[in-house]
């Protein structure tokens, strides 16, 4: 089975935030103001060495969020995606602490565990509910994977910086690019 991954080519990323609004667009039914499943971060902003990277859940193979969750609400799909069950989530926030990428987001910031149900990137693969059911749309948003499509953020990326898909395929694309960048007369795919 394929292992789905994201890959962001920092030399291509122009911080246009297309991936961010693409996500908002596609998962509108599940998102609210303040919840950003994906964001673009620019390091060394305004100086030489400035580089941007689009970050969301990286669907880790050994996901720290899954390890730390008290309710065991995370699960791996056969595509290697890390998804979670909002019905079981208790909003404790441990996954936010554990996730190196800051992917988990909570609708509220209140004390006493009133953070609400955690939300994060689903790789546009919905959740544990029945595919395309109302419950899935309201809780998790789109399920493009079930339709044979890839995540909206990568599909709409302005410069093809953000890649999504089978780990092997996308790393090959990236490897080719890096190789071509070094050589003057190379032909680009």
């Amino acid at each position: 089975m394929a292992t789905m991954k994201f890959l962001c080519d920092t030399k291509r990323c122009i911080e246009c935030n297309g991936c961010v609004t693409a996500c908002k667009n596609e998962n509108d039914s599940a998102l609210e103001w303040g919840i950003q499943r994906r964001r673009v971060v620019t390091i060394n902003d305004g100086v030489r060495g400035e580089a941007s990277i689009s970050v969301a859940c990286m669907h880790c193979t050994d996901a720290p969020c899954q390890a730390v969750c008290p309710t065991n609400c995370f699960y791996k799909t056969e595509d290697g995606l890390t998804l979670h069950n909002k019905d079981t989530c208790i909003g404790c926030g441990y996954c936010l602490y554990a996730c190196p990428f800051g992917a988990p987001q909570f609708p509220k910031q209140g004390a006493f565990g009133s953070r609400g149900k955690m939300d994060k990137c689903t790789f546009c693969a919905g959740g544990p509910e029945e595919n395309h059911s109302d419950a899935e749309r309201q809780k998790y948003g789109a399920n493009r994977i079930a339709e044979g499509k890839l995540p909206m953020c990568a599909e709409l990326c302005a410069t093809k910086s953000l890649l999504a898909g089978d780990a092997e395929v996308i790393s090959n694309i990236f490897r080719e690019r890096v190789a071509y960048r070094g050589s003057k007369n190379a032909i680009w795919g």
């Binding site: 122009i14 609004t21 908002k24 596609e26 303040g34 709409l156 093809k160 190379a186």
Partner: protein
């Protein structure tokens, strides 16, 4: 689908606090359809769209091919519509421009189908309260008012502000509307966008448009950006730019006062002082000539008066250039060297170059750089001038301008006669619509109107100083956010002073909100471009047919319908739509409008792009290459995507479109060309025509003038015309022969209809024959004012225009910081629409100013502090400070998309209920100052002064 009216309950809108507004989705509010039938049925209720999430997943899907309405890259997308609701957006991987890619705005397009902050029905301000009214009532009241003003003050007291968001058909019909009304007081935001480009570039080599295409940048070996930041303003263009960088190892040079996101991808960034473009370019040319890097053959054959430039640049040795621009001698040298060693190279500029009081000269300087390097008319070269709005190219082409009829025909009597001929109207009738008197020695019909940048001066100036009968008393702001205009205090005063203000827009916009009026403001809800269809021209002159995605939301009407209904009220509808068929609902058949455009637009070859051909291209995106833009097969085989003009002759002649202008390596019938013979055959005894250079296959193997009936006869080609064509062509030229015969025959012999001439380095009709450096009116470098002074005050068209009297006053002590402005990727233009889109608004919630850490430290300002920024004319805005090394010490930068707060006070109470955008903020233009280009009246937004203090 449920159709429920949301009882008497008004939507509970959480009022936004200053700058930030919260998401105001009424998640469980009643739901209605987006259909018009339902809209009229439900009357006044606060209606809600059917949200995508209420549509069953398996409802049948209709796919619409549409085009993004943000910038002029022209990205295509597939819109999925279910039960009449825009439920999905899918990437168009097969689209030749964007290959499925979108920036933040494009990726958020589907929100247009929500439109929760839109104007829902016509409204009128009565005693300070917004009152709903019917369309009929609105047309009647407005029509009566217009006719009253016409009677009292003449037709020129009406102002028609148009929009770059119109379809081509909308642009054309709006310009025609103004003509039928009898005024040239019509303009749109190209005035404050690329008007200086159009003037400067057209006067250099013929057409004032992007010479190559976005895709062609893939072939460049060097890419030179000056005053352009495509990573934010044209993000999808970066797709092609980065491919060039990766594929060709193309060198990227960014000349910008700010270390922009584009600069982050550059090989060389030159942070010049705002307003010193000409010295910078001359500094590069100094090295080019010094080292013999110029293309001597190209200059000899195709360039007029490069020697004058050689003389001029002697005044700009490296030391002087560094003294003026602040860029090191080494960097200027590197910029020149990279361009010289990596040919072909392309030059790209945007508002950073154009929005100056010397804008037209800036653009000419950039052109001269490319001429010296011989980079014109070649793949990978050219001047790739990125236009801003999705159809600003079309709006410019179709004469939505104060100084020309469609097709850059100008306003001369001959121009009017040509268009009367196209319209099948009697010229005398058209003339009779105008004010026949003369004012300050000018005849209104033949004198440019009042520019978009200064309509407020047309309201506030004393009538005696205006070259028209009376001041402007009533204005339509049709798809234009007035917060994009400088001197916002005057804009507000002008809004207050007019008899009537009319906003026609999907959103209330600033003209409807920022005034202090209690009466006499009308808001008419216009449909967006996704609620109608029509053609749209991208920056690369390609036209695309944009399909209608959904029916107009709420009670809104399409632009064309509003214009037509208003003309019916005003009584010139018969003439206005003489050649245009009406459908069963008495609506204009849009394809007929396109055909009328084709019938008249010979100058730029917008004559071959029939609606059928454009639709064919739209239906066959996939058959056009993402690299070459050409169709290698399929029904449009051999054609260039979107038939970029000039697409010569009639549609039947099947010209493939011209992707690269002035390209002598191709036959004219394959999109070849050369520089246009627009200014005669000689100047002061010197030959203006090309020497030994001609397009591939031309039978006249040298320069030649533009074609006319007489010239055909002289050449012995007259009999190549059919009998029918002869009748039409007699006494006409390539621009006015409505049969297209003259063009056809010229091309048959391999010749370009507009002749074959040299590009001009000098423009003798402009205030400065060659580009001359002039310090900004508000300059921090007082030491340079005497050496590089601005112009003397002068009358430009209808308005007096100040230069020296402003520059004379030294305000640099009180306002020591340079001020410049630009775009954010999340917002567009005045931002009214994009700030009402929650997916975008969430990303930029605060108006801010970028300030260098050292300037901030001097003022005790930390990142995120609230500050007062005071412009050099006293406009004060309360905004957030962003302390960042993006700007150099002494320079500050602001985005210009914000509005809804003025002088620290929120205007949210002025909006009709439920229309306050998610994000409001101070407008940068409240602090920006006077300064206008003498040729085009472009406003100066890129070089001013300010002071910043902690609030």
């Amino acid at each position: 689908m449920k159709l429920t009216r949301k009882s008497n309950e008004a939507p509970t809108v959480a009022k936004p606090t200053l700058g930030i507004s919260r998401r105001q989705f009424m998640k469980h509010a009643g739901i209605t359809t987006g259909g018009i039938a339902a809209a009229s049925l439900l009357g006044t209720g606060m209606m809600r769209r059917a949200e995508a999430k209420d549509i069953p997943h398996d409802a049948p899907i209709e796919i619409k091919r549409t085009v993004c309405s943000a910038c002029a890259v022209g990205c295509g997308l597939y819109a999925e519509v279910q039960n009449g609701v825009w439920t999905g957006q899918e990437p168009a991987f097969d689209h030749p421009f964007n290959a499925g890619g979108h920036c933040a705005k494009g990726a958020a397009l589907r929100e247009h189908g929500h439109g929760e902050k839109r104007l829902k029905y016509p409204m009128k301000l009565v005693d300070g309260k917004w009152k709903k009214l019917s369309w009929d009532q609105a047309f009647n009241e407005l029509g009566d008012k217009m006719l009253d003003i016409r009677k009292e003050s003449g037709p020129d007291s009406l102002y028609f502000m148009g929009s770059a968001k119109f379809s081509n058909e909308g642009c054309y019909m709006y310009r025609k509307f103004a003509a039928m009304w009898g005024t040239n007081n019509v303009d749109h935001s190209a005035r404050i966008c690329h008007s200086t480009t159009v003037a400067g570039v057209a006067n250099t080599w013929g057409y004032g448009a992007q010479t190559n295409s976005f895709n062609d940048i893939q072939n460049a070996n060097a890419i030179f950006f000056i005053g352009a930041n495509p990573a934010e303003a044209h993000p999808v263009a970066m797709q092609h730019i980065l491919i060039a960088k990766e594929k060709n190892n193309a060198k990227i040079i960014v000349v910008d006062p700010r270390f922009s996101r584009t600069a982050a991808h550059s090989d060389l960034h030159c942070a010049l002082r705002p307003g010193t473009d000409i010295p910078f370019i001359y500094g590069m040319l100094w090295h080019i000539f010094e080292n013999g890097w110029e293309d001597k053959t190209f200059i000899e054959q195709r360039v007029f008066e490069m020697d004058t430039i050689r003389e001029e640049i002697k005044k700009f040795p490296p030391k002087e250039v560094t003294h003026i621009t602040g860029v090191s001698e080494e960097e200027v040298y590197q910029a020149a060297k990279l361009m010289a060693e990596n040919r072909p190279g392309t030059v790209i500029w945007c508002m950073g170059g154009t929005q100056h009081h010397v804008g037209n000269a800036n653009t000419r300087a950039y052109c001269i750089l490319q001429l010296a390097l011989g980079n014109m008319g070649v793949s990978g070269g050219g001047t790739n001038i990125f236009r801003g709005h999705d159809n600003v190219q079309g709006a410019t082409d179709l004469g939505l301008l104060f100084d020309t009829l469609p097709g850059y025909y100008g306003l001369k009597t001959g121009s009017w006669k040509h268009w009367s001929n196209v319209w099948e109207l009697d010229y005398e009738w058209v003339k009779g619509r105008f004010d026949q008197n003369e004012y300050l020695g000018r005849i209104p019909m033949n004198t440019p109107g009042i520019p978009c940048s200064r309509w407020h001066d047309g309201v506030l100036e004393t009538p005696e100083k205006l070259a028209q009968k009376d001041r402007v008393r009533m204005a339509f702001f049709w798809g234009q956010s007035v917060n994009t205009e400088t001197r916002q205090s005057e804009v507000r005063d002008a809004l207050d002073k007019m008899d009537t203000v009319v906003v026609v827009d999907p959103f209330p916009t600033m003209a409807g909100v920022m005034h202090r009026r209690k009466n006499g403001v009308y808001l008419l809800p216009a449909a967006t471009q996704f609620e109608t269809e029509g053609s749209v021209s991208n920056s690369g002159r390609s036209q695309q047919w944009r399909e209608k995605v959904i029916e107009p939301l709420f009670e809104s009407k399409t632009d064309l319908e509003i214009m037509y209904r208003l003309s019916q009220k005003l009584g010139f509808d018969k003439e206005y739509t003489k050649r245009i068929a009406k459908d069963a609902n008495d609506m204009l058949v849009i394809e007929d409008v396109t055909r009328e455009i084709n019938r008249g637009m010979w100058t730029i070859g917008m004559s071959g792009q029939s609606p059928e051909r454009l639709k064919l291209h739209t239906q066959n995106w996939g058959s056009f290459s993402n690299k070459t833009l050409e169709a290698e097969g399929g029904p449009a085989k051999g054609e260039t995507y979107g038939l970029p003009w000039p697409c010569w002759g009639t549609p039947e002649q099947k010209h493939p479109g011209t992707q690269i202008l002035y390209n002598t390596h191709k036959h004219v019938l394959e999109g070849g060309g050369n520089f246009r013979a627009r200014y005669g055959v000689e100047y002061q005894g010197k030959n203006l025509l090309a020497e030994g250079s001609f397009s591939k296959g031309a039978e006249i193997q040298d320069g030649y003038p533009e074609f006319s009936a007489d010239m055909l006869k002289q050449l012995g080609w007259w009999d190549d015309l059919t009998a029918e064509e002869k009748t039409s062509a007699e006494g006409k030229n390539w621009k006015t022969d409505l049969s297209g015969g003259i063009q056809r025959v010229a091309m048959k012999h391999g010749c370009i209809p507009f002749g074959n001439a040299k590009a001009r380095c000098i423009v003798w009709t402009f205030p400065d024959q060659v580009p001359v450096h002039r310090e900004p009116l508000y300059t921090p470098r007082r030491d340079l004012v005497s050496k590089y002074p601005t112009y003397d005050d002068m009358q430009v068209h209808r308005l007096p225009t100040l230069y020296k009297s402003i520059q004379e006053k030294d305000s640099s002590a009180k306002y020591p910081l340079g001020l410049t402005s630009g775009r954010l990727v999340e917002y567009e233009g005045g931002g009214e629409e994009s700030r009402s889109n929650p997916w975008l608004a969430e990303l930029q919630q605060e108006m801010f100013v970028e300030i260098n850490p050292s300037d901030a430290a001097d003022r005790g300002i930390r990142n995120g502090d609230t500050v007062w920024l005071e412009g050099a004319e006293g406009g004060r805005i309360k905004i957030q400070a962003m302390v960042t090394p993006r700007v150099k010490p002494g320079v500050t930068w602001m985005p210009y998309h914000f509005a809804g707060v003025m002088h620290g006070e929120s205007l949210e109470n002025n909006y009709p209920e439920g229309t306050v955008p998610y994000v409001i903020g101070e407008s940068a233009n409240t602090a920006l100052t006077y300064g206008y280009d003498p040729v085009t009246q472009m406003q100066e937004t890129k070089a001013s002064l300010c002071q910043i203090t902690k609030a």
